[in-house]
């Protein structure tokens, strides 16, 4: 018997046939298909019991109520909280994407100390003692005013703790970055007197005359703005939008009135002139004007008559007349100010001029009008314990009226003006005009302490970074602000345990105060920020802790309000854009990109249109008439007195000829590839222009030129 080729063939065929009729084939086919459908690297979210926790979002001044859906201990979704007095269910995209901030690649995971060009991780104990030692040195040299501070806002108990710290330390140099609320307070202070703020009853007004306020682009409390706008449609109330660009608000308005950038104040005064000339004002209201309106009227008729302002503003004199008349004759008119989001650079002349329209037609503290009310006060801190260094320090002059001037002073001086700087929840190296100069100033400050959740542009300049909880991880009172007609305090709750070695900013400042000992420590005797919050909110803590929200006031404020228009009657100069070129570059506020505070989330950046951001390039909007030689989507070089940027072009009929629009909120430069290194930061291209009289940076834009790249 010889084993030959055929035998082997038989063997092979037999094996194949045997396997083929065995279950191996069918089973392996099934298993391999299941295997290819369940790659081990595709995450499988863990299931568990669903629960909902209510809290408050503090990403922006909106102070919306949120409902956090959790699976077991794990938050998986943020949604608007139904029944909340501010947003009643709706939510904006940034709040909804809030959980992305928890795991943001640029989170500061542990206290950091600058070591050359890099950071090294240190313990909280070491970080606090390093900060305390430096601060003790400053105090020992009897110059406590050389500690400066910058916060995002001056509201709520954490800001109050920072201010308390500066008081007991002895430094008057604590500043906030410009916000809509600070601009409203400045306006109220000029027209009605200090300690008050202005709100707008947009939910009831029947004629809204908006001077560039992005009522549906993040102005004020955004979700509340969306709701008011939607209800305006149902109430058939009118919205007239005045701005150089067909913004979403302008597109949604009943009428869009294109105006040359930076001439809104002139237009508002021309409308005042019409109302005064045609005697359309409310005589009872005008009787409240301190010193009457004669001086103002004389100035307006002489200098701001519609016929004269038509050329300046680009609005036809007949249109100025018509709109002013419509406004004055409306039942519940309101004029709204604060271009874009109302934060950032604003001209006090413009704010006051627009608000004067409200004062003239007598809608102050009337339904659908402008509410002048005291600033929200609900915090009751125990008396501060001050030593002599603190008392002396507080008598010294501030280094500047606003943060901007402090930085200018630092850059100009050869000796250190500021020895140490605290930055809390603010990113001045990104959000202030002439961002490069701010970075330079921070570089000149010997000791910068950043209280930040993220390693952002400003934190990168710091010597010590104290990592703080995100709003998802912390307890905090969040008072409403920013033009809301009702005053509400919400409670942000830790819906997630801290992901990293972070602390509540309140706890961080309490620890520093305790480390400094003496009177400062005595002023911070709480065991923790949580204890502090409960003890300083005695009137509303029960509501806050049980309901998550406390309504301080709602409805129409009562009482008459004094009006003083002497600021305008002195005819302050209108701010001009820096530079000589023929085009004007203006910033565009886009709802999908936050411009101040925390940068956008990956989800928010994902929603940004490719006519705003393409690849790593900012896209600028320009009218085809102005864009001679430029191609749609083509590259161009944009040059301003402050710098140059390579951009792409979007030929846009919604842009006034002569104007270039560039979105705010791009061009971040930190370690988060989903958000950073995309486009240009417009604040690098625009320099500050200080308004004489107010001291505000009022640069509405800058002169620019653009050419094919």
């Amino acid at each position: 018997m010889k084993v030959d080729r055929r035998s082997f063939l038989g063997l092979g065929l037999g094996a194949v046939a045997g396997i083929a009729v065995s279950p191996v084939g069918i089973k392996l086919t099934d298993d391999s298909s299941i295997w290819t459908q369940n790659w081990p690297w595709t995450p499988v979210p863990v299931d568990g019991e669903v629960s909902y926790e209510s809290s408050v979002c503090s990403l922006c001044p909106g102070s919306c109520g949120i409902s956090v859906r959790k699976i077991g201990d794990r938050p998986v979704k943020i949604e608007g909280l139904a029944g909340h007095p501010i947003n009643d269910g709706g939510a904006c995209l940034h709040g909804i994407a809030g959980l992305q901030y928890l795991y943001d690649p640029s989170r500061v995971k542990t206290p950091l100390k600058k070591n050359g060009n890099t950071f090294e991780a240190i313990s909280w104990e070491d970080a606090i003692s390093l900060v305390a030692a430096k601060l003790a040195d400053i105090r020992n040299s009897n110059a406590p005013e050389r500690l400066a501070g910058i916060m995002d806002k001056d509201l709520g108990s954490v800001s109050a703790l920072f201010k308390r710290f500066f008081n007991t330390f002895g430094s008057p140099n604590i500043y906030t970055l410009p916000t809509l609320e600070s601009n409203l307070q400045a306006t109220a202070a000029t027209v009605h007197g200090k300690g008050q703020t202005i709100a707008f009853d947009l939910e009831n007004a029947d004629f809204v005359l908006s001077f560039g306020a992005g009522l549906i682009e993040g102005w004020g409390s955004p979700v509340n703005g969306f709701k008011a706008n939607a209800s305006r449609k149902e109430r058939h109330a009118k919205l007239y939008q005045i701005e150089p660009r067909l913004s979403n608000t302008a597109a949604n308005a009943d009428k869009w009135i294109p105006v040359k950038p930076g001439t809104e104040a002139d237009l508002a005064l021309a409308m005042c002139a019409v109302i005064l000339k045609k005697k359309l004002f409310d005589s009872k209201a005008v009787a409240n004007f301190k010193g009457g309106v004669n001086k103002l009227n004389a100035l307006l008729q002489k200098t701001y008559a519609p016929s004269k302002m038509a050329e300046t503003t680009g609005v036809k004199s007949s249109d100025i007349d018509t709109i002013a008349t419509l406004f004055a004759k409306a039942k519940m008119p309101v004029a709204v100010f604060g271009k874009g989001r109302g934060d950032g650079a604003q001209s006090l002349k413009e704010l006051v001029a627009v608000h004067t329209l409200n004062c003239l037609v007598g809608n102050i503290n009337k339904k659908g009008g402008a509410f002048v009310q005291p600033e929200t006060a609900y915090l009751e801190f125990p008396a501060e314990s001050m030593d002599s260094i603190a008392t002396d320090g507080l008598t010294k002059a501030k280094a500047g009226r606003y943060a901007h001037q402090v930085f200018e002073k630092i850059n100009a001086a050869s000796q250190p003006v500021v020895e140490a700087l605290f930055v809390y929840n603010a990113n001045p190296c990104y959000t202030l005009h002439g961002a490069d100069n701010i970075k330079k100033a921070l570089g000149k400050i010997p000791f910068v302490v950043s209280f930040s959740s993220f390693l952002d542009e400003t934190a990168k300049q710091a010597d010590i970074i104290l990592p703080i909880h995100t709003f998802v991880e912390r307890l905090e009172d969040v008072p409403s602000c920013a033009g809301l007609a009702k005053s509400v305090v919400g409670l942000t709750k830790p819906v997630s345990p801290p992901i990293f070695d972070t602390k509540n900013p309140g706890d961080a400042i309490i620890l520093i105060a305790k480390a400094l000992e003496g009177d400062i420590a005595q002023s911070f005797e709480w065991d923790s920020y949580d204890d502090c919050l409960e003890s300083v909110t005695p009137g509303i803590w029960d509501d806050l802790s049980e309901e998550g929200v406390a309504v301080i006031s709602e409805g129409i404020p009562t009482g008459s309000v004094a009006v003083n228009v002497s600021f305008l009657a002195d005819n302050p100069a209108t701010v001009q854009a820096q530079g000589d070129d023929s085009l004007t570059l203006i910033p565009i506020d886009n709802m999908r990109l936050p411009s101040a505070g925390t940068a956008a989330s990956p989800f928010a950046v994902k929603t940004v249109s490719d006519t705003i951001l393409k690849g790593t390039d900012s896209v600028v909007e320009i009218n085809p008439l102005t864009a001679r030689g430029l191609e749609d989507r083509g590259y161009a070089t944009l040059t301003t007195p402050m710098g140059t940027a390579r951009v792409r072009v979007n030929l846009n009929e919604g842009m006034m000829p002569g104007v270039i629009g560039m979105v705010e909120g791009l061009g971040h430069d930190f370690d988060n590839k989903y958000v950073s290194n995309k486009g240009t930061n417009i604040n690098d291209l625009i320099g500050p222009v200080i308004e004489s009289g107010s001291g505000l940076d009022a640069a509405f834009g800058i002169k620019a030129k653009i050419s094919k790249a």
Binding site: K2, F8, L11, G14, P23, D31, S32, I34, N38, V50
Partner: protein
């Protein structure tokens, strides 16, 4: 004459000779081939049927034995532990907290398994990492409420008489897919005797077709 024939004649005689030899031994060779075929067929078929499942599945023991019968006797029906939450979702394997509702009395450790439970998990506050025989891929959506509440089905229909078991059988994990052998079924051919013998999509569809008249739409069972 073709080139091939030329080659045969002029080329290697060996190859020509072999062919001739092959031809002459044709019958015998085929006979051997058939034997080889049969042997190989039988060996491969049997290994594909008997050995293959042993290779395909790895056996893993549960963290400790769980006596379902005892628990059913003490605690009551399946839904004492495997209950529906108020929102209609299903708790699945109970968490440690649910176990502690009963296992709170000291001392714990009447049986060897309870002792392991007390030492390794209760005192360390650690969840028991049970292997789940009925675990389905993530893309599967299954509503217990729809089947037990609305459909009025018994647990046994899909899960079999597990409530009568006194010990935990080893978990046989498919080395390719990572899922339990119970999904495909004990029978490697995929044949089933009882409704609970298999948990594949076809089994769901079969019952759906029978009971609702339609095998269902994608999202009904997939997420």
């Amino acid at each position: 004459m073709s080139e091939i024939e030329n080659k045969t004649e002029n080329g290697s005689t060996e190859s020509a000779g072999e062919r001739t030899a092959g031809d002459t031994k044709d019958d015998k060779g085929l006979g051997l081939g058939v034997i080889f075929f049969i042997v190989a067929f039988v060996v491969c078929f049997l290994s594909g049927t008997l050995l293959f499942p042993k290779l395909l599945y790895s056996k893993r023991e549960q963290p400790f034995n769980f006596d379902h019968k005892l628990h059913v006797g003490e605690a009551g029906d399946c839904d004492s532990c495997h209950y529906l939450r108020e929102d209609g979702s299903f708790v699945g394997i109970p968490k440690l907290a649910t176990c502690l509702d009963c296992h709170s009395e000291e001392p714990m450790g009447e049986t060897e398994d309870e002792a392991i439970f007390a030492e390794e998990y209760v005192s360390k506050e650690k969840e028991v990492p049970w292997f789940i025989y009925s675990r389905q891929p993530d893309c599967v959506f299954f509503s217990h409420a729809a089947h037990t509440q609305s459909g009025g089905m018994d647990c046994v229909t899909c899960h079999g008489p597990i409530g009568e078991s006194t010990s935990s059988k080893p978990y046989q994990e498919n080395r390719i897919t990572g899922y339990s052998r119970d999904i495909w079924g004990e029978n490697i051919w995929g044949f089933k005797k009882n409704s609970w013998d298999r948990m594949k999509m076809d089994d769901c569809a079969e019952c759906h077709k029978q009971e609702t008249g339609h095998q269902g739409y994608c999202f009904q069972c997939h997420k």
